[in-house]
Subunit: 498 residues, 2 copies
Amino acid sequence: MTLSEAREELKRLEQEEFAYGYAMGSMHYDGSTGAPRDTYIPRGKALSVLSAAAYALSTGERNERILDTLAGHMDELTPAERRIVELRQKDLRELRSIPQEEYVAYRELLNEAHIVWTEAKERDDFASFEPVLQKIIDANRRFAALAAPDTDPYDYCLDRYEEGLTMERCDRFFGVLRDKLVPLIARVGRAEAPDTSMLDVEFPIAAQEKLSGKLMELLGLDPKRCRLGTTEHPFTMDLSKYDVRITTHYYERAFASSMFSVIHEGGHALYELHTADEYAYTGLGGGVSMGVHESQSRFFENIIARSRPFAEMIWPTLTGLCPELGRYTAKEFWRAVNTARPGLIRIEADELTYSLHIMVRYELERAFMHGELEARDLPAAWRELYGKYLGIEVPDDRSGVLQDSHWSGGQIGYFPSYALGSAYGAQLLAKMKETVDVDECVAAGDLSPVSKWLEERIWRHGKLYRPTELMESAMGAPFDAKFYTDYLEAKMAAVYKF
Amino acid sequence: MTLSEAREELKRLEQEEFAYGYAMGSMHYDGSTGAPRDTYIPRGKALSVLSAAAYALSTGERNERILDTLAGHMDELTPAERRIVELRQKDLRELRSIPQEEYVAYRELLNEAHIVWTEAKERDDFASFEPVLQKIIDANRRFAALAAPDTDPYDYCLDRYEEGLTMERCDRFFGVLRDKLVPLIARVGRAEAPDTSMLDVEFPIAAQEKLSGKLMELLGLDPKRCRLGTTEHPFTMDLSKYDVRITTHYYERAFASSMFSVIHEGGHALYELHTADEYAYTGLGGGVSMGVHESQSRFFENIIARSRPFAEMIWPTLTGLCPELGRYTAKEFWRAVNTARPGLIRIEADELTYSLHIMVRYELERAFMHGELEARDLPAAWRELYGKYLGIEVPDDRSGVLQDSHWSGGQIGYFPSYALGSAYGAQLLAKMKETVDVDECVAAGDLSPVSKWLEERIWRHGKLYRPTELMESAMGAPFDAKFYTDYLEAKMAAVYKF
C-alpha cells in the first residue's frame, strides 16, 4: 500500500466509522427521547450487530495496514495525520485487548443497564440495579487489566475521559480544593443566606420553552444544526459537528433548573459545532476530552450565566416571560442562583459545593476499581462520604447512589473531569479578560467575542492537540487550581457580602 | 453447507438484516421528528454507508449459499421456511439487478429528496423539486427495466407494494368504482350537506393530546411498544413488532384531522404489533403488503371510527375534552365526519371521493413509468385530471402535485394500495359480521373482539401468505369491489337521508 493509497483508504474507513457512530448515537438518542419504553430489546439487538460491525472495522486488518503504511511515513505526514495515527494506534491497542464477544456483550449490557437503572431510580430500588452494576464494574476491571496491564486500573479509567489525567494529578487538585473550599463553605454557612423564594415561582412550561429558545439564540446555537429536546436527565449528543442534540428537563416550579441546563448543554454544543470543518468525518472531529468539554459547558453555565452582568441582562426577558418575578430584582436573582448550600444532588449543586460531590464519586470509583468495594457496598459507602464531605444525611438511594446515569452508562472515570473542567474555566476567564471585556459583552447580550476567543483557542482544534497541551496553550500557562479557588472566594464574598 | 447449518446461518443473517433495517428506520424516524433541519447531510452520509452494508449482506455470497442449500431441501422445510426462501430469492433477483453504486446513490437521493420536497411544498415551488423528482422517476424506470425486463414497468412497481397487483386488476377495480361512485357522488352533491361547523371549533392541542391517548387506549395500543409523535405528515414506522412509532399533526381548529390520523396510523400499528412472535427478527415479520396494511388502517379509520355507534360512544369523551362541542349532537358529528365533497387534498378526502384522488395518481404514475410524462409535465397533468375526475380547479402545486410525500420517498406504485385497502375493508366487515356484533362492540367501546378477529385471520400471519391468498382466506371469497360500493351507497344514503 502506497502512502497516497493509505490516505485514501483512511478517509473511507473514517467515513464508515463515522456512519456506525452516527447510527448508534442516533439510536441512543432515540432511546432517551422518542422511543416507547419497552423497545430496548429490539434496539439492543440492532445495536449489538452494529457495534460488532464497528468493532470489526476498527480492529480489522484493513485498519492495521493503513496504520502500518502511515507509520512508515511519519515524516511526510501533516500534524493532523500524525495525531490521527497516534489516536488510532492507541484505540487499536485498547480494542484489540478486548475479545470481540466481550465487547459486544458489554454494549448490550449497557443498553439493558440504562433501562434497569431508570426503573431502579424511579422505584428507589438499588437492589434491582446492583447485579447489573456489578457486571459493569467487573467488565471495567477486566478491560483495564487487559488494555493496560501495567497501569493502575483507575488511572486507565481517568485517562479514557481525560488523556493524561492520573490519580496523582487528581489528588493534588482535590487537595487544593479541600484546603481552600472547606473553610470557605464553613464561612458561607455562617453568613446570611440569600432569599431563594423566587426560584420556586410558577413559571409555565410553555414560557420556559420560549426562554430556552432565547438562551439558544443568545449562545449563538444554530437551530438548523442543534435542537433542544426533553429528557429525564439533560445531556448533549454530538452526532456530528453538523448535528448536535441537547436536552433539558422542565419543572414548572424550578425554572432555573432548565435554564442552566440549557446553557450548560449549550456550552457542550458550541464546542462540537465549532470544531473545524476539515476535521468533520475524521478522527479529529469533536471535542478532545471530557475535561475540556466540561470546561466549556461549565464556563457558560457558571462563569457567564451566573455572573452579575448576565443576571441584569437576562432579567427583562425573565420578567417578561414570568411576570410574577417582577416582585424581585436582578440582583436578588443573581444572589439566589449563587446560593451555596450542601445538598444531595450533584446536578443541582452550586458552584462552591459541586467539587465535593465529585470527590465522593472519585473516591468510590477508585475504591471499586481497586477491588476495595463491590456494587453492594456502594449505597452505604455513598452515605458515609456524603456525611463526611458535605455533612448531610442521604435519605434514600434515589437521591443517593442512584442519582447519576454515568455508571449505568459504563462511564467510570468521567466524574473528575467535571471538577477539572470547572477549574479550567476560571483560569480561561483570567486569560480571556486580558483581551476581552467579558462583563461588557455579557451586559450587552453579545457573547460573540467570548465565543470567538474560545473558538480560536479551543473549539476549532478538535482533537488535534492533547488536552493538557491545548489548555496550556489557551490559558498561556500550566494549569493552576488557584485561579479557581480565587474565583470562588471572590464570588462568594460578593454574593454573601463578606 | 448442511441444512441445519443453513438454518442457523439464515437466523444470523436475518438478525443482521434486521439490525441494519432498524438502524436506518430509526434514523429516518429521527429525521422526521427529533433532528434539526439541516442535518440531512451527516445523516445521509451515515445512511449511505449503512445501506451499502445492508445491500452487501442481502446480495452476498453468504446469502446465496444459504438459499442454495435451503432450496436443495425444499421438501424438508416448514411452510414458513419455504416462504422465506421464496421472498429472499425474489429480493435477491431484484437487488442483484441493480448495481450497488446505483442503489447507494439512490438511497442518498431519497434522503436529499425528502428535504427538497419539504421545502418545495412549504414555498409552493415545484421547480425546485422537479430535477430531484425527475431523477427519482429515471431511477425507477431504470430499476424496473433492470429487475423485470419482461414485465411492464408499472406492473413491476405495483407488485412491489402489493404482490400480484397489476394494471389489469387495477383497471377492472377502478372501472367498477367509476361506474358506481360517479353517479353516487353526483347524487350526494345534490343532497343537502350536513353542518360541519363543529369541526372548526377551537380544540386546544393539550386536549387533543389527551384525546390521542384515549384513542390509543381504545384501540388497545400498548404505549410501552408504540408511541405517538408529531410530524408534518402522519405516518407509521414499524421498526420491529416490539417497536412501532406512529405520528399525527395537531391543528387547533381541526381536531378531527388528528383524531382520524391517530386511528388510521393506529390501525397500521395494530397489524405490526400483532404479527406472531415467532416471526420477529425474521423475513416473515411485519405486514405482508401495503394493500393489506391500508385495509387495516382504513378499516379502523373509516369503517369503525366513522360509524354511527362510534360517534355515539366517543361523544362524551369529545365533549368532555372540548365543552364547546356540547352545542352539537353525536349524530351531527357522525354526519359531519362523513360529509362527502370533492376536495384538493387526498389525506383530507372523505371515504366517497377518496378513490378518485388515487385514480389521478394511478394514471400519472402509469404515464410517467411508461415514459409518456416527465417530471416537468406533472403539475399541468395533475390539474387536468383533478378537473376531469373531481371537477375542481387546483390553485397551486402545494395543494396539488406537491401534496404527498410518496414520490419524494421513491414510493411509486404505492397509491393504488390505498384504494384497494379501502375496498378490502368493506368485504372484511361483511365477513366479520357473520360472527361478531361489530356495532355492539363499538357501542360498548370494546374493540377487542374486532381486533381478535383480525389478529387471528390477518395480523398474526405476517408475510407467511401472499396478499391475495391471505385476504381471500380472511374474507372467505375472492375479492369483489361490490362490497365496497354497496357499503358506500348504504352509508351515504344514511348520512344524506336519501
